[in-house]
Amino acid sequence: MKALFSKENGINAIRIGAFLLLLLLVLSCTYRVLSWKDTAGDYLSCREMLDATPGDTVDVFFAGTSHVYCGIYPGVLWSEYGIASFDLAVSDQTKEETLAYLKNACKKQSPKVVVVDLFALTYDTHSEPGNLYRNLANLPFGPEYVKLLGQEVSKEAFPEYLLKWPIVHERYAELGKYDFVSYPPSRFVKGELYSDLTESLDPASLQSIPAGELSDTNVAFLEGLLELSREEGFIPVLTVLPFSQTTEAGEQISAAYSYAENAGINVISAEDIMRLCALDPAADFRDGSHLNASGAEKVSHLFGEILATSFALTDHRGDLRYASWDRDLIYLEHQKLLSYLRQTEDAAQYLRCLSSHPDLQVIFSLEADYMERNNIYYEPLSAFGLTYEEYAAGGKWITQQGKAQLLHPNDPSAKPVTKKLEGGKLLQTAFHGDLSEQNLLLDGEDLSNQFYFLKVIVYDPLTGEILDSKGF
């Protein structure tokens, strides 16, 4: 025993400890880079968004699959009714995951109402293995994670999922910028994903189907939800956001409605939503399973109205603790704007639309023979306070609260100008000749006019990212 505590052993123990500590540090940093961050697309991570939301602020959770994050915009509920809601939803989310996510979310939040979309009742396993480990990564390591593993993962694969590394290490082949720095929207978005795609649906596929027999796993899920609602003190509401359903899926969902009716749970059925929102199968769907932006806005309005009138929810607008919902709303509006900008080819329309968004910074550059185009750019640019003389001289401008400030004239002798933008991006302007390269750089990316007389870059200070850039 004496030998065990000798000086030499002590030094060796310190060395081993230091080595293990360093190894853990390096591995944890590497894991942060490799870990899944994307549950809704483009690094928009539900877990990171929830972690970034202040504790005890969420009043309503919308839980479910991609149907939820495509179909419910918390920004709409916030702007219309001041309801602090959150989409607790990832792609292909199973029933077990829904309960586990809710349980985990309730550790930090005290929701009054939880609206659960029942699409997950139509399947028992993920459609792709990729979704299984992506969804598992959405839950922090702990007893809930281990319990969920036991429910969803085979005995053989259990250790690999438990260690997590074997799941994510192959991501080295697909690492991008946001694996190294956090994705800005994940800091304030409330779970939704904006989508402006449209696909026409057959109205017949949206009609209700008579109830079948509720499967054992579905009964267990609904019982589990009721138990959780009692434990955590929230009111459960069941819903189904309209989707093109098969007979089997429709039977399970109708059976769940019956179950809810017997158990005294509130239900807002897909048929109610179709009718009350007057959803158009030709215009309000992204694909057979998801609503698009137009449909989501209508449905979000409906839920806002129902929640505001049926439950005693506080209007939190103006409360500083809820500032992230304001940012979420701005982000949603910017997404809407982006959708419009991408479809607009006319410079005048493009600029006019931007002039009504003073919170965005517009960087524009006029070079070469633009004056020969009958001043087509002048009228919309004058909305940013540009005089005709300034317009005729050309150069590079940036707007601040909707007012244009000259950054650099089209003069080769003028010194290059560097400006740090809100959000951290570095803007560099110079003039090496008309339509030359390196005249306009944003964080090293060359956004010079090159082939265009007018180049417009829309910078979003909220995210510190370029929202759009276009040449005319």
């Binding site: 081993i16 190894l23 390096v26 074997p166 799941i167 290490h169």
Partner: protein, 499 residues
């Protein structure tokens, strides 16, 4: 339980900690239980085979001790005991590994003479590592009969010698004079040292690097080309041939490094199994560097007893051929393995025959044998010959092996080196880049190891502490990130587990 499985990552630290904290007298028993647990995690019932093999050789050795006299009668009895025990051990090996192959050939002969098949094959699942522990226990019996060592009386110590988990399933095939002695001493002293811990851990990491980053990546490329052999040309078939040469080396050397490192951490020294074999300057030199524990086993227990090189040139070549053909058969129950062994025997005989002529030619041309360029071409030549022989080892049949050779000769396509066609066999540019970078690292380290005549673990241990830390952390991170494992990847079993 595979060394590159999550289960082993959990198993080894637990066993190591238990080994450290348990009283010394309990250590052999603890390691024995851990070894059986390790083996049974794969197929519990096959633990009975090791137990049976252990009991046969244990009792055989005790019997040998009773007939230790020098008179002829006692010598004959000893011979019978060794033969009996060896036959019993080989009977199990034959049933599980060779019976179906034997039957297949007998049936083929019967059919050729118009007869019918004898019976159905057994289709038994090959017990992992059966060839390794069978050879190890037979080696022990022969050593006892030759009175090189005394028979072991403690069954736990002996059972641990046969089933010691780091080398149980794929060697190195240890000698009782080394391993058994060390295992017996566990009860008296604590063999764990800082040097053993550090160099053992580094060696394990190095083994993982070779197995998981290189061998498993190469296997994707090699398998891809073998699957598309009828359409492959010269470049692809050459890539498959050289790729497999490297794959099998990194696979087996990687496994051996993990096994040796694992044992070294516990203060147990296992014999070196590889000494940069692809730096060999002749086939004979290659066999002094490749799977050393097996080649020395065959040398000591087969080649020398057959007469070795003491009974004339012809007999020497016959002995050499027998040894290599059996070595080929040891690797697998298929004619491809036998052919591979025969090819190596043939290369050695030719090498020996051409030696006088070669020496005369060198003298007349004034060539220096120790010149770097001359050594380089000899290394290259040896690598080409061993790589060629590996074609038969890798092929699923002789037909497939000859198809590959035919495609190699007839499918002229040097443009495939440039047009990116090689990236279509499962390794894209990034993966190929990782592979090449890994190969460069291994090449550099191998050169250092060869120059210093020591393994990676010992080499690293002689560096300063910060350098050791950086290397080990870097290796661990590289393995964890770039290693081929996990849910997406069907982990390749260590190739030598099948033998």
């Amino acid at each position: 339980m595979l060394f590159n499985s999550a289960a082993f990552v959990l198993f080894f630290p637990v066993v190591f900690l238990g080994y450290l904290v348990l009283p010394k007298r309990l250590r052999p028993l603890f390691l024995l239980l851990a070894s059986y647990f390790f083996y049974m995690s794969w197929q519990p019932k096959y633990a009975l085979l090791i137990a049976g093999n252990t009991l046969v050789s244990y009792c055989g050795a005790l019997l040998l001790e009773r007939f230790a006299g020098e008179d002829r009668r006692q010598q004959n009895i000893r011979k019978r005991i060794v033969t009996g025990c060896t036959c019993l051990s080989f009977a199990a090996l034959f049933c599980f590994k060779y019976f179906d192959f034997f039957l297949e050939n007998v049936n083929a002969v019967l059919r050729a003479f118009g007869g019918g098949g004898m019976t159905n094959p057994l289709n038994l699942l090959l017990p992992v590592g059966i060839s390794f522990y069978t050879f190890q226990s037979i080696g022990y019996l022969i050593d006892v009969s030759r009175r090189k060592i005394a028979a072991e009386h403690n069954l736990i110590d002996y059972a641990l010698f046969v089933s010691f988990f780091p080398q149980l399933v794929a060697g190195p095939i240890e000698r009782s004079s080394s391993l058994l002695k060390q295992l017996k001493s566990l009860k008296e002293k604590t063999p764990v040292t800082m040097e053993g811990l550090s160099s053992g851990f580094a060696l394990m990491l190095w083994g993982y690097f070779q197995k998981m980053i290189l061998a498993d990546r190469l296997s994707i490329l090699v398998d891809g080309i073998y699957d598309a052999l009828p359409f492959a040309g010269t470049i692809e078939t050459l890539a498959a041939m050289f790729g497999f040469s490297l794959q099998i080396y990194f696979d087996f050397a990687g496994y051996s490094a993990i096994a040796i490192g694992c044992a070294r951490m516990m203060g147990i020294h296992l014999m070196q199994n590889f000494r940069t074999p692809y730096f060999a300057t002749s086939i004979s030199d290659f066999w002094h560097r490749w799977h050393i524990s097996l080649s020395t086993w065959f040398r000591d227990y087969l080649y020398i007893p057959l007469g070795g090189n003491r009974k004339g040139r012809v007999r020497k070549y016959v002995n050499l051929m027998i040894t290599f053909l059996l070595s080929g058969l040891w690797h697998g129950a298929d004619w491809t393995f036998v052919f591979w062994g025969g090819l190596h025997g043939f290369f050695q005989i030719i090498g020996d025959l051409k030696k006088p002529a070669e020496e005369r030619l060198m003298r007349s041309l004034g060539l220096k044998e120790d010149a770097g360029s001359f050594r380089f071409f000899r290394i290259l030549g040896t690598f080409l010959l061993t790589s060629f022989a590996w074609i038969f080892f890798r092929a699923e049949s002789m037909k497939q092996a000859f198809l590959l050779i035919r495609r190699m000769v007839s499918g002229f396509d040097p443009w495939n080196l440039m047009n990116g066609n090689l990236y279509t066999y499962g390794l894209d540019r990034l993966e190929m880049g990782v592979l090449l970078a890994g190969l460069l690292i291994v090449f550099a380290v191998s050169c250092l190891c060869k120059r210093r005549e020591e393994d990676f673990g010992s080499l690293l241990y002689r560096q300063n502490l910060p350098a050791r830390f950086v290397c080990m952390i870097l290796l661990a991170t590289l393995v964890l990130v770039f290693g081929k494992y996990g849910v997406h990847f069907d982990s390749q079993q260590f190739i030598y587990f099948a033998f």
